[in-house]
């Protein structure tokens, strides 16, 4: 992907000559650190930009009682929809669950809790959680069901809802490229909530389409600095 840099290689080793600070971890191992009942932010919009390998492994390991903060629950049995179908989810915080018949069915049957948040408010609440704000004032939802239970604050003669930050135990995100330091970039509409979630969780786990050496993603193109990423899911040997 890019020219080999002696300096980069040098930096990736500590004074004992060992590679240190490695963020790379096997898929199964990292998913084992996520307990039942955890709150997860999961990136993606209708499964584009969703961490499909991490989702698949959560299902395979039979995780239960999850709270997921997502834009949507994708389609039945696809992406986040696999978690819904596996009944791994107790509560969904999302802007839209209409594309997944499983979610609709579980919701109307009272088997799953759904908190609906306007999409722009969801983005700002996650961002607020990531950047240390105590909340934001938005005009969205004033005078609607979304207002219920929330303080209404007037600024400059206009009314706004006080919306509070969202944070999670884990953020599961998907990137186009990751470098060995965990720096990430995203492609087109696969960016969506991923960079916001990468700031708003105690532990951030990223999977990437390609993992490239440090320096391959130019500084101005990196969207999520590697310091935010705790674990990078290893690519696995293809058995094809």
């Amino acid at each position: 992907m890019c020219g080999f840099s002696f300096r980069t290689a040098e930096r990736a080793k500590n004074s004992n000559g060992n590679v240190h600070m490695s963020k790379v971890i096997r898929l199964a191992d990292v998913v084992e650190t996520i307990p039942d009942g955890a709150t997860l932010m999961i990136g993606g919009f209708l499964a584009v930009g969703a961490p499909l390998r991490l989702i698949g492994e959560l299902v395979r390991q039979g995780r239960k009682d999850l709270t997921i903060i997502v834009n949507d629950t994708n389609r039945a049995g696809l992406g986040v929809g696999r978690l819904i179908a596996a009944r791994a989810v107790r509560k969904v915080v999302a802007s839209h669950v209409g594309t997944n018949a499983d979610t609709q069915r579980q919701l109307l049957a009272g088997e799953i809790e759904v908190e609906l948040v306007p999409q722009g408010t969801l983005a700002e609440r996650i961002r607020a959680g990531g950047v240390g704000l105590g909340g934001i004032l938005t005009p969205t939802g004033v005078g609607t069901l979304v207002e219920d239970g929330k303080p209404v604050i007037e600024v400059g003669g206009r009314r706004f809802l006080l919306e509070t930050p969202l944070r999670a135990d884990f953020a599961l995100i998907a990137a186009k490229h990751a470098d060995h330091k965990g720096n990430l970039d995203y492609a087109l509409t696969a960016r969506n909530f991923n960079p916001l979630m990468a700031m708003a969780a105690d532990t951030v786990i990223a999977e990437a389409q390609d993992i490239v050496p440090v320096g391959c993603i130019p500084p101005d193109q990196i969207v999520t600095p590697g310091v935010l990423v705790d674990h990078l899911v290893a690519k696995e040997q293809s058995h094809g």
Partner: protein, 216 residues
């Protein structure tokens, strides 16, 4: 011309050169096909792109590029991609010139309900509440009635999308402008009388002295 095409074609005439436009899922998507010649409009997809266009051929679909309804799309030269906070910053911040949305109900105060039917269908509001609250101009593009029942009503029975008064309602029967005084009938569709529109509408309409026929 079927009724959806008629609505889309009429809405398209509201577009002017250089606008930033967001089209809702479903009927509003059709508007892009009917833009007047010579009009260059930027379409935003709220999942993170300005400059969407329909995919020229299915074989060119990119796994990372869909519209907000999940359909693979293309991108014009000069398109830009961004995260969801930026996307809704553009919408809430007054940078979106027009949004075109479908509706379940619009009431006499010009308020739209389009995101849930309690106990029956709870898809969620997605980006609709931000769009209706934040766009400079909100156009509702919908059929005038549903199973014979008026969708334009005295007061919304469904939960509101926003308390903001929308700017324009375009149906297969009429063009209606919500004003402070009430819903004003501005155009009737070809072959549709004022009486037809009144009969299909569940709210009082203000009828000006002259009501021209919709030009497509």
């Amino acid at each position: 011309m079927d009724e959806k095409t008629l609505i889309a074609a009429r809405v398209a005439r509201e577009m002017t050169d250089g606008m930033l436009v967001n089209l809702g899922i479903g009927l509003p998507t059709l508007v892009a096909r009917h833009l007047p010649k010579g009009i260059d409009v930027s379409f935003q997809s709220e999942n993170g792109l300005i400059g969407m266009e329909s995919l020229p051929e299915a074989g060119l679909a990119d796994d990372d590029l869909i519209d907000a309804g999940g359909t693979p799309i293309g991108a014009v030269a000069g398109a830009s991609a961004f995260d969801s906070a930026m996307s809704f910053g553009l919408i809430r911040g007054g940078h979106m010139d027009v949004t075109v949305l479908g509706g379940l109900e619009v009431d006499a105060a010009g308020r739209l309900a389009n995101w849930m039917v309690p106990g029956k269908m709870v898809p969620g509001m997605g980006g609709a509440m931000d769009l209706v609250t934040g766009a400079r101009r909100v156009i509702v593009a919908m059929t005038h009635t549903a199973k014979g029942a008026p969708k334009i009503v005295a007061q919304c029975s469904l939960p509101l999308t926003s308390e903001r008064r929308v700017d324009l309602i375009v149906t297969e029967l009429a063009v209606i402008v919500p004003t402070e005084a009430g819903l004003e009938l501005r155009e009737t569709a070809p072959g549709v009388s004022i009486a037809d529109v009144i009969a299909a509408t569940g709210a009082t309409l203000i009828i000006p002295a002259v009501v021209p026929t919709m030009v497509i």
